[in-house]
Amino acid sequence: MRLAARHILDLESMPVEDVRLILDTADSMQEILSREIKKVPTLRGKSVCTLFYEASTRTRTSFEMAAKYMSADTTSIATATSAIQKGETLLDTARTIEAMGVDMLIMRHPVSGSCHFLSRHVSASVINAGDGMHEHPTQGLLDLFTMEQHKGSIAGLKVAIIGDILHSRVARSNIWGLVKLGAEVRVAGPATLVPPELEHLGVKVYHRVEPAITGADVVNVLRLQLERQQRGLFPSAREYARYFGVNRARLGLAGTDVLLMHPGPMNRGVEIGSDIADAPFSAIRQQVTNGVAVRMAILYLLLGGAEA
């Protein structure tokens, strides 16, 4: 089995068969992660580079661990330590790295669409590790994987995504993945942070948290970028926490075996109550583990699939 695309850029255009294949492959990668010696030779001789124009220890480390467990060589380039600081264009940077023989570029970038742009101009595979406010497809896939792990099937699940939907790449990737797999998707947040056009995708849009959570099987809480307040999109973190934060009382409106998720890093006490974040129904730490398995699956399918 092989993926239809050479790149992982977004879940919007990913065929549902590819979503399925990645999730199924991640299942077997999990087995490798549970071994004493977490190393397979599958990608020996392959070279992977992470190119991060935004700080993110979490996602970058997750990709690097995934690559190392598969025996690929990894290089990482971060903005603070490279020619990027000297004003080199994205295209020049990427082509320079590629000229050194890199098979895959994993990029995070603050501008939406940058990974699509890059994929048109390099011959390496490009993986989107988060582009601006657009998508974060590997996060979307690991969230789907986590939901399936707990709930069996995603079809028919009621999934509430709570928070700053407008600026969230995690939200967009979740929405596309969930819609493709047949979930009922609800989004909720302050009216200034929820684009009304999502209704065209069959998503239910709420501006209060309570009705979105009521009866939900999964509640996925998004990180609030506190700097949005400076643009006047919400009045204060205090008001946000009181009226839009997910706390124990609000979570009580959900179904009895609700699954609580958060892509991290959390603002405890703002968008998510500190006590519920560590509760038994929280999958937040498991999401991190699953992230490595899903990324191993993607590396395997893009770089090693041919020999398999």
Binding site: T89, L91, S112, F117, E135, E197
Partner: protein, 432 residues
């Protein structure tokens, strides 16, 4: 005086009451006669099967000289205009230094005269340095040859400055050309705000960023009695507001570009963030596009312009947010209008002549826009049946930033005559 005879073309100018297979006789820079079976001419050109129209005037072009000659200059832009079938163009003042004084106006006119391609009519800045603070030396620029005023590229954010401009310019018969955009609404948006921007995660510019400013400017034109021209209208509300205030006697005209008539914000998604779709005002949603086409057909829009905005490839081969706004248009406009608007029944050729020649000449108060005895010998000759595929490599402009690459169109500029000089014939530029 040398004579030129253009024989057997379909000569069309509704304003002059001309419509038929006719000959046009030119002496020097003027038309001597339009009629059947004319004789004479030191040089005889055959135009059978072609449309012979009064010269097209593009009211909205960025020539980039002085200051940004790596994108375009007066000569390359003038040549691109001729190649695209335009006999005259207006150049916007957002140069470096800004065209906000007599010296720069005279320099640009001098460059145009030396280049000798299309006629170039400068538009002077409204405010000194395009800063939006104080009026530029409008009367002095007028005597140096400007035909209008604009801070195009930027809005005049101050309501009071816009009021002053309309009031001060009126006695000089200069239209104030408004780039209508409320900067507090557009902020750092890079495309139309709507369904597509929400899905792509790009910052959006709401339609109201334009319409709010159009409403303001219309009220100010009413207040001052000044003459207002709204540049590149792109929203349904703008068109409605203009029609309403025009019916109440406000002196207002407006223009639209081919790209706002033919592309929607969906193009940004279809091309996955191709920066050639990034333009200001942004490509709007299909409901706005439909409204613009309806308004055009109903005669509520006065002119079609290109807003030709050349940029170097390096300024477009970057992330979407970092790319410059704008697209080139001089060499695609006629084929787009012929193939997509006339060919698909939105407009007929008499309407095109009004929109691209007669009205622009009237709005600017320049000679031209008529094909009649005694008038300027400026002609746009079109082959309405020629099939073309847009290929940016063929452009004579210095820049190639077009979203129309690969479009297959029927109809193309075939000849361009400026002041009796044949600048292009059979689609080939005359060596100069």
């Amino acid at each position: 005086m040398s004579q030129l005879l253009i024989k057997g073309g379909h000569v069309l100018d509704p304003a002059a009451g001309v419509d038929g297979i006719l000959d046009v006789l030119v002496a020097g820079e003027r038309v001597v006669a339009v009629g059947e079976n004319l004789d004479g001419g030191d040089r005889v050109l055959e135009a059978r099967g072609k449309l012979v129209l009064p010269g097209f005037i593009d009211m909205h072009v960025h020539l980039r000289e002085p200051g940004f000659e790596y994108k375009e200059d007066v000569a390359s832009g003038g040549r691109a205009a001729v190649r695209g079938g335009f006999t005259a163009i207006c150049c916007m003042p957002n140069t470096q230094p800004v065209m906000d004084n007599r010296t720069v106006v005279e320099f640009v006119r001098g460059q145009a005269a030396r280049a000798g391609w299309a006629r170039v009519y400068p538009v002077g800045a409204i405010s000194k340095g395009l800063k939006g603070e104080e009026l530029a030396e409008i009367a002095d620029m007028r005597s140096a040859g400007i035909v209008g005023l604009s801070d195009d590229g930027k809005p005049v954010a101050s309501t009071e400055l816009m009021r002053l401009a309309l009031q001060y310019a009126a006695p000089f018969d200069l239209p104030v050309i408004s780039h209508a955009e409320d900067p507090t609404l557009s902020q750092d948006g890079v495309m139309h705000r709507g369904r597509v921007s929400s899905l792509l995660g790009l910052k959006g510019v709401p339609a109201e960023a334009e319409s709010v400013m159009v409403a303001r400017d219309l009220l100010l034109a009413g207040l001052t009695g000044g003459s207002l021209h709204i540049a590149h209208v792109s929203t349904a509300q703008s068109v409605e507001l203009i029609a309403f205030y025009r019916s109440r006697g406000v002196r207002v005209t407006c223009e639209v570009t081919p790209h706002h008539l033919l592309l929607s914000d969906q193009a940004v998604r279809d091309t996955w963030y191709d920066t050639c779709t990034k333009v200001n005002p942004p490509l709007r949603s299909p409901d706005h596009v439909d409204a613009l086409r309806r308004a055009l057909r109903e005669g509520l829009i006065d002119a079609i312009v290109t807003d030709h905005a050349p940029h170097h490839q390096d300024e477009k081969l970057v992330e979407y947010d970092y790319a410059q706004f704008g697209m080139v248009g001089l060499e695609t406009a006629v084929s787009l209008v012929a193939g997509e608007l006339v060919g698909k029944g939105v407009l007929d050729w008499p309407q095109v002549v009004a929109l691209m020649s007669t009205h622009p000449a009237r709005i600017l108060g320049v000679e031209g826009g008529r094909l009649e005895a005694g008038g300027l010998a400026d002609f746009t000759v079109i082959d309405p049946g020629q099939k073309v595929t847009v290929d940016p490599k063929d452009f004579v402009s210095k820049s190639r930033n077009t979203p129309f690459a690969g479009w297959q169109l029927t109809g193309a500029p075939w000849g361009t005559v400026v002041g009796g000089q044949v600048m292009m014939w059979e689609g080939t530029l005359t060596a100069r």
